[in-house]
């Protein structure tokens, strides 16, 4: 099914005492079902706001967003969000964190634990079910964040620079892991990043957006076979091409 997510003329303005601040301006794009779309753009260009609009965490000023034909009006379990800061509950174990979604959606404890265990295993954290977030490394905590988002079994995963604060090497590892998890259980993913390598490594398609107010500047279909290699000449060529494009269009 195509056009699973559809943004039509979406704008967002914040009004404050200091005036009207236009953050997102007339954005149009669609995402196919089970597509991994990367939104790539420089810092402070309104990427997070755009993601919040799709999640339904912020009201839209103008335009319309539909997911699976239904208009987005508020946040819901159909759209899971993974943040840059992992936002885990520090007083809950890994199991508690991952099973939180299914439990609060009314599932029995046994069932939600079974679902949680499946995703804990999938992200490679078997054995850490009883650990607390402060006992985990940054990369592990982010895996819990991914497992927790998956455990809600949302149709759409929205990921806001989830690996942004990890060091370069852990980041490579997590990118590999995300692709592995996604290939086993496909979801529609919108992944936001300001890292060009990460964008090319992950994406089926990249949308380039630029500074405030956020507008779509370009689009790249990434056809490199997976698993992708950072030193592959085609990878490097694409990297040069996109970063050149971004340089010129900002």
């Amino acid at each position: 099914m195509s056009k699973y997510i559809d943004l039509k003329n979406v704008s967002k303005t914040f009004v404050s005492k200091r005036g009207v601040h236009e953050v997102v301006k007339n954005v149009n794009f669609t995402v196919d079902e089970n597509e991994l779309l990367v939104i790539f753009g420089p810092g402070q260009c309104g990427k997070t706001t755009l993601l919040n609009l799709i999640a339904g965490l912020e009201p839209i000023s103008e335009g319309e967003i539909t997911v699976a034909g239904k208009k987005v009006e508020k946040a819901g379990p159909a759209r899971g969000v993974v943040y840059q800061k992992t936002a885990l509950f520090p007083w809950m174990t890994v199991m508690g964190n991952v099973s939180y979604g299914p439990t609060s959606c009314g599932k029995k404890k046994v069932d939600s634990h079974e679902i949680a265990q499946h995703y804990i295993d999938l992200v490679g954290l078997s054995g850490f079910e009883k650990s607390f977030p402060n006992q985990l490394s940054g990369g592990m905590a982010q895996r819990v964040g991914i497992a927790r988002a998956y455990a809600n079994q949302p149709a759409v995963l929205l990921m806001d620079e989830p690996f942004g604060h990890l060091d370069a090497q852990t980041r490579y590892l997590m990118q590999e892991e995300l692709i592995r998890v996604w290939e086993q259980e496909k979801r529609t993913i919108i992944f936001v990043t300001n890292n060009i390598e990460e964008a090319i490594y992950l994406a089926d398609r990249i949308i380039v957006i630029t500074n405030c107010p956020t507008t779509v500047k370009g689009e790249y279909q990434i056809r490199l076979p997976r698993p992708r290699v950072y030193t592959d000449p085609d990878f490097l060529k694409l990297r040069a091409e996109i970063s050149d494009f971004v340089d010129k269009s900002i």
């Binding site: 420089p42 090497q169 060009i196 390598e197 030193t231 000449p233 490097l236 060529k237 040069a240 970063s243």
Partner: protein, 250 residues
């Protein structure tokens, strides 16, 4: 000149550093030749920064010996510059005053200092911003101020701790080229720590690969690729892959 090439600038003998019971650096020995560009890479958290801090005596090594020009390292006497990962500009000084700070401390005559400042400002492309304060500059411009300040003193030994870690790719490439220009012009000995393998292969004459904690030297690689280097060439990719394999722990 030929003679200079062979002189040893830095000698590290059996450098060991413990924090309490935690052994961080384990018996590290190596030499850096005068005028050499050495890059240090290693897995995350392997103690790269501790390594550099011991080298400058910011931390006292637990045991072992570090010599610069055959005498124990002394920051007050020797002409050493250190560029940290964080942008360490002084916010109350203008760009020009920041860049001239080291020269002022070294009591370089005013006219001579001014000439040195003008030269480095031109190299880093900040001539027009000499009267600006750091808060009026972008992050990458601030980092250029720090680089200019280090180079203004024409250090014999330049230590850099992931100076370009936070920069986007285009700017990183530009600043790497600027660094190479300055290095060649001044015959400076450079020790450059990075987590970015591509950067290490692009810049270095020698690459020191460290192991995980307790840190020791895994391998020293002589980088014979001709400059200017092309990141897309197969030889470049091969070396980059080789080094990546050496530090990969997953």
């Amino acid at each position: 000149m030929e003679q200079n090439q062979k002189q040893i600038k830095v000698t590290v003998r059996n450098m060991t550093k413990k924090f309490g019971d935690l052994l961080v650096l384990n018996d590290i020995s190596f030499d850096v030749k005068k005028g050499e560009f050495l890059c240090v890479v290693g897995p995350t958290g392997c103690g790269k920064t501790t390594f550099l801090n011991c080298l400058t005596n910011l931390y006292q090594p637990t045991s072992g010996e570090i010599l610069v020009d055959n005498v124990p390292v002394d920051l007050r006497k020797q002409n050493i510059a250190y560029i940290f990962q964080e942008y360490s500009t002084m916010p109350w000084l203008t760009v020009e005053e920041n860049v001239g700070y080291g020269l002022k401390i070294k009591q370089v005559p005013k006219a001579e200092a001014q000439q040195a400042i003008n030269e480095v400002l031109e190299v880093v492309g900040l001539e027009k911003y000499r009267k600006f304060y750091p808060s009026e500059l972008s992050a990458s411009m601030q980092q250029r101020v720090v680089i200019a300040r280090a180079f203004a003193t024409k250090p014999d030994l330049l230590l850099m701790d992931e100076p370009y870690g936070q920069l986007d790719i285009d700017l990183r490439f530009r600043l790497e080229d600027e660094l190479l220009k300055l290095w060649k012009a001044n015959g400076t000995t450079v020790i450059f720590i990075t987590h970015n393998i591509e950067e290490a292969v692009y810049l270095s004459e020698e690459i020191l690969v460290l192991t995980n904690k307790p840190t020791s030297i895994k391998q020293k690689i002589n980088n014979l690729l001709l400059q200017p280097r092309n990141v897309v060439s197969p030889e470049f990719a091969a070396l980059r892959n080789e080094v990546t394999e050496l530090i990969k722990w997953w």
